[in-house]
């Protein structure tokens, strides 16, 4: 029997009012402003922008505040918001080679032109809690040095010049867009890259780590990791030319991986690529490793059955909003479904009991 059930409005309203009160916490403690979150929780803001797939630091900070710091809930809020935005257009592909780099390191070339620039990194900190931060005070002033105006070409460009690494020839192919069409397989590389760049950081990290531990090993070196600002250009039809419509911070990681070669083709390094909104280097490195693992087919490698080589597995489970939506819906009322199951179990038990009794007699 199907029974429609209504009710709970008052309970829901009261729950949400209490949520608002809990969100605020102790009123004796000053309230966080959105600007404070944007400026002082910047890496959380970056993660929400990357996985929310919308570059807007103020909105991401607001979402973090509303979500009480639950970053997946904040990503959910951003994803919901972005569906309300009319699509103005698509940018020209950004030129990461022209990035104004805050940070730029290479694990493969010590003397890379442009140098090794650490930027504002957690690397080489001792990971000891800094109790000075518990007290209010001014931070130390960062040192400065005369800015280096020389361009910082991509490391892989040097390898490419000598034919030592597999090339990435430019195309103008219109990429498929996950926000416009459902994910379908086989997924080409542009679609995989879109899925990975907005994928859950923890999931992409775990997949990348699995390749390092041997499940689809591909021997990566971080050829280059760079973080900095790039202008975004778009063609404006009513003007007839392209203009810069803003500037965004990106993290780019290029890995240099084990080489492929054959009797006819000389050995060449291969590559994996990560490009993510904001300062998000764990994610960008992870993305590059997973991108490389998923390229096994085009590079003529064996499918070892590793999870990170399985595009359908990786891409279908990378999105934390899809995942949490499906996961969390099972806590919502399923009374009718459950009643049906309950009926079935009672019936099965009654039948089993009856047949046992018959056998005993």
């Amino acid at each position: 029997m199907y029974v429609a059930v209504k009710g709970g409005e008052r309970a829901i309203d009261n729950a949400h009012a209490w949520l608002a009160e809990e969100r605020r916490g102790d009123p004796a403690v000053p309230e966080l402003s959105v600007a404070q979150i944007r400026e002082q929780m910047a890496l959380a803001v970056n993660r929400v922008m990357a996985e929310g797939s919308l570059y807007d630091p103020d909105l991401a900070a607001l979402a973090i505040k509303q979500a009480r710091g639950d970053l997946i809930e904040a990503v959910f809020l951003i994803r919901a918001y972005r569906t309300t935005l009319p699509r103005i257009g698509a940018s020209r592909p950004v030129d990461t080679g022209a990035m104004a780099c805050d940070r730029r390191i290479s694990a493969t070339f010590k003397d890379a032109p442009g140098g090794q620039v650490l930027g504002p990194t957690f690397d080489y900190t001792h990971r000891l809690l800094d109790f000075a931060l518990a007290a209010e005070g001014e931070p130390p002033v960062a040192a400065t040095a005369p800015p280096d105006e020389t361009p910082t070409p991509r490391i892989t460009d040097f390898l490419g010049r000598d034919g030592l690494i597999q090339p990435e020839p430019a195309t103008d192919a219109e990429p498929r867009d996950l926000t416009r069409e459902p994910l379908e397989f086989p997924a080409d590389r542009p679609l995989r890259l879109q899925s990975l760049t907005r994928g859950d950081e923890g999931f992409v990290l775990a997949m990348a780590y699995s390749t390092q531990r041997g499940y689809g090993r591909n021997h990566p070196f971080v050829g280059e990791l760079r973080i900095g600002a790039v202008p975004v250009e778009m063609d404006i039809p009513e003007l007839g030319f392209a203009i810069e419509i803003g500037e965004i911070t990106l993290t780019e990681c290029e890995t240099v991986n084990q080489f492929a070669g054959s009797r006819t083709e000389p050995a060449q390094f291969t590559r994996g690529y990560g490009l993510v909104f904001g300062q998000t280097e764990r994610k960008a490195i992870s993305m590059a490793l997973v991108d490389r693992a998923l390229r096994w087919d085009e590079l003529g490698e064996d499918d070892t059955g590793a999870p990170a080589q399985d595009a359908e597995f990786v891409l279908s489970h990378a999105d934390n909003i899809q995942a949490t939506g499906f996961l969390e819906h099972i806590k919502l009322p399923h009374y009718v479904d459950f009643q049906a199951e309950l009926e079935l179990v009672r019936k099965l038990r009654a039948e089993a009991l009856a047949s046992r009794r018959e056998a005993a007699e």
Partner: protein
């Protein structure tokens, strides 16, 4: 038409530059510079300010096939001054007043007011943008690694 059209490149290039500068300018900075102009000229809307998303693209491996990274918020509008000059704006973010100011500056830069706008709005904004960028570049430069080769003993 005339010689005016023979070489449009420098004009387009100049307009591209100021539109880009306005798109990237912090909202409060453009508002502050714009306020120094005094009265806002009368205009009519061709397209009221509208916030939307632009899909930002990158290239696989930095140089290869384009792919979608994610969207960014952009606000655009178009307006016409009383003398018929049309101003356009595409600015980063969701601030409609910011887009309106940018479109007004774009329009005024195509009129006789250009030198004054250039001096009181664009030049200061450009200087501030350079200063911000240089300050970051200077901090970044201070984190450049200097390697020392250890003496090995065999000379």
């Amino acid at each position: 038409m005339t010689a005016h059209c023979a070489d449009p490149a420098p004009e387009i290039s100049a307009r591209r530059d100021w539109m880009g500068l306005l798109a990237r300018a912090p909202v409060d900075r453009l508002a502050a510079r714009f306020a120094t102009l005094g009265d806002v000229p009368a205009f009519s809307w061709l397209r009221r300010p509208e916030t939307g998303g632009v899909m930002v693209r990158g290239r696989a491996g930095g140089t290869g096939a384009p792919f979608n990274i994610g969207e960014m918020t952009v606000t655009r509008c178009a307006l016409r001054l009383e003398d018929g000059t049309v101003g356009h704006a595409y600015v980063q973010g969701r601030d409609k007043a910011h887009a309106e100011r940018a479109a007004l500056v774009d329009a005024l830069m195509q009129t006789g007011a250009a030198p004054r706008i250039e001096a009181s709005v664009l030049r200061p904004l450009a200087d501030e943008a350079v200063a911000t960028r240089t300050a970051r570049a200077a901090r970044s430069a201070a984190t450049r690694v200097e390697f020392f080769t250890m003496v090995r003993g065999e000379d």
